[in-house]
């Protein structure tokens, strides 16, 4: 009888102490614009295009899951408003003309700023 009263109270106090114990652990907040996470080289961010290496084979266009993100005509066009950053195009580029960068802060006020056009030689 008394045990059934005391046990819950013990558990409640254990809960309080667990929370308190966590309070004295190291803080995990990362204050974003000032401090940024260190990214690995694998990180799939914005894609960099090297026009000297491109041979216009259009494989990047073919493997892209978000259709219409990459278009190659007179220019190399990539639309980051549609891109899902899977880096398939980078992986299957036969000449290494596309590389991934660590840049991920792409937010803008204007959607058109997300479309990148670069000439092909």
């Amino acid at each position: 009888m008394i045990k059934s009263f005391i046990y819950p109270i013990k558990e409640l106090i254990k809960g309080l102490l667990t929370v308190l114990k966590n309070g004295f652990k190291e803080k995990v907040t990362l204050e974003y614009p000032e401090k940024k996470k260190v990214l690995n080289n694998n990180f799939r961010g914005k894609i960099k295009y090297d026009k000297t290496k491109c041979i216009k084979c259009k494989i990047c266009q073919k493997v892209c899951p978000a259709k219409g993100t990459i278009e190659i005509n007179e220019t190399f066009k990539i639309d980051y408003s549609q891109c899902i950053f899977c880096a398939n195009c980078v992986e299957f580029c036969p000449k290494g003309a596309l590389t991934i960068t660590k840049e991920y802060e792409l937010a803008t006020n204007n959607k058109n700023e997300l479309i990148f056009n670069e000439g092909i030689n």
Binding site: G15, V19, L20, G23
Partner: protein, 361 residues
């Protein structure tokens, strides 16, 4: 007559100001003091709760606005004042409009009942204990009005829940209050405080059970987290205030924190010796000061002790918030009716015996 009142009257009488005007001015000054106290307490509490919860959850909390985020609540308050006031189309307009006022006004009123120090106490009522609880049963009506008039089912459920829990939590509270009245022989809050002049005389020692019951039941009255059914975010979205925005929402919000503060102060007054110093002496007594300066310093000290005790209780309330999930409505009611009421009656019985032996000593 408090020392502050005496100084004030003496000074103004020298300027040939009629007595009735002095009386009114004094009331106005006191009102400003109480409002300021409440607003400061609320502004601080909101920020403090955020920082404190952040401490428990290993975050840094708000730290952008002002030094260490000290202006965060001010910024939030200004923002909320400029928010659009949206009223649901089908709302019962008059009741919808009145509800936040009914919630807010009584809370402001009870600030005048608490003796913050031996001289800072605007209304020394002989039935202070009863009046406090009686006035504080009004906000429940406001919450119910808000729930009903919003014409929103979530709000309605929230309002109804608030009503049920108020009924069931107030009975144990009143039973513990009866214990206090037995111990001190008075319903006047300042008399109760005076009776607890030394540490060993604090009401909490004979009435520890009463204090625990009072504390948990006040959590129910305050809608704090293990018992926050009327707004139960994950069930009822925001409960009774889901249709309120802008200033009207702010009144509910401020009211909640102001109530937390004043209820803790009330508990400190009743059980923890009120403004009395736990050491039995004041710094003002140690020095050879003139009567007036000594009185003023002593009052400030007493005020400090009460605030300290209040914050000690608030710390516990917020600590509980960080640790526990929400109760179920009917379980909380069971807790009140089946456990707390019998325990409170038992507590009353114990206190009667204690008082009998105290009297004979």
């Amino acid at each position: 007559m408090s020392i502050f009142h005496l100084i004030f009257v003496e000074y103004l009488l020298k300027l040939n100001i009629p007595e009735w005007l002095i009386f009114m001015l004094w009331q106005i000054i006191y009102f400003i003091f109480i409002s300021l106290l409440m607003i400061l307490a609320v502004l601080f509490l909101v920020l403090f709760e955020r920082k404190y919860l952040a401490f428990f959850t290993r975050r840094k909390g708000p730290n952008r606005v002002g030094l260490y985020g000290c202006l965060q609540t001010v910024a939030d308050g200004i923002k909320i004042l400029f928010k659009e006031n949206i009223m649901p189309k089908n709302a019962d307009k008059f009741i919808y409009f009145v509800a936040p006022i009914i919630v807010f006004a009584p809370i402001l009123t009870v600030y005048s009942l608490i003796p913050f120090s031996s001289d800072i106490n605007s209304y020394k009522s002989d039935i202070g204990i009863l009046l406090f609880m009686a006035i504080l049963s009004l906000p429940i009506a406001g919450v119910l009005f808000a729930g009903y008039s919003s014409r929103n089912k979530y709000s309605l459920i929230g309002g109804m829940r608030s009503c049920i829990q108020a009924i069931s939590s107030e009975i144990p509270i009143f039973l513990t209050l009866a214990g206090i009245v037995i111990l001190t022989g008075s319903m006047n809050l300042s008399e109760i405080v005076k009776a607890q002049h030394s540490f060993s005389q604090w009401n909490i020692f004979p009435s520890i059970l009463g204090f625990i019951i009072f504390f948990i039941c006040s959590l129910i009255t305050l809608n704090r987290i293990p018992f926050d059914f009327p707004e139960a975010e994950s069930e009822l979205v925001a409960g009774y205030n889901s249709e309120y925005s802008g200033m009207k929402f702010a009144m509910f919000f401020l009211g909640e924190y102001a109530l937390t503060f004043i209820f803790s102060a009330y508990a400190a007054t009743l059980f923890l010796g009120g403004y009395n110093s736990p050491f039995g002496f004041y710094i003002a007594d140690l020095f050879d000061l003139t009567l007036i300066t000594g009185e003023i310093i002593r009052n400030i000290e007493q005020f400090f002790w009460l605030i300290l005790k209040t914050f000690f209780l608030i710390l516990i309330i917020m600590w509980i918030r960080a640790a526990y999930p929400r109760f179920k409505t009917e379980k909380a009611l069971e807790l009140c009716w089946y456990i707390f009421i019998p325990l409170a009656i038992f507590n009353l019985f114990v206190l009667c015996i204690v008082q009998y032996f105290r009297g004979s000593l």
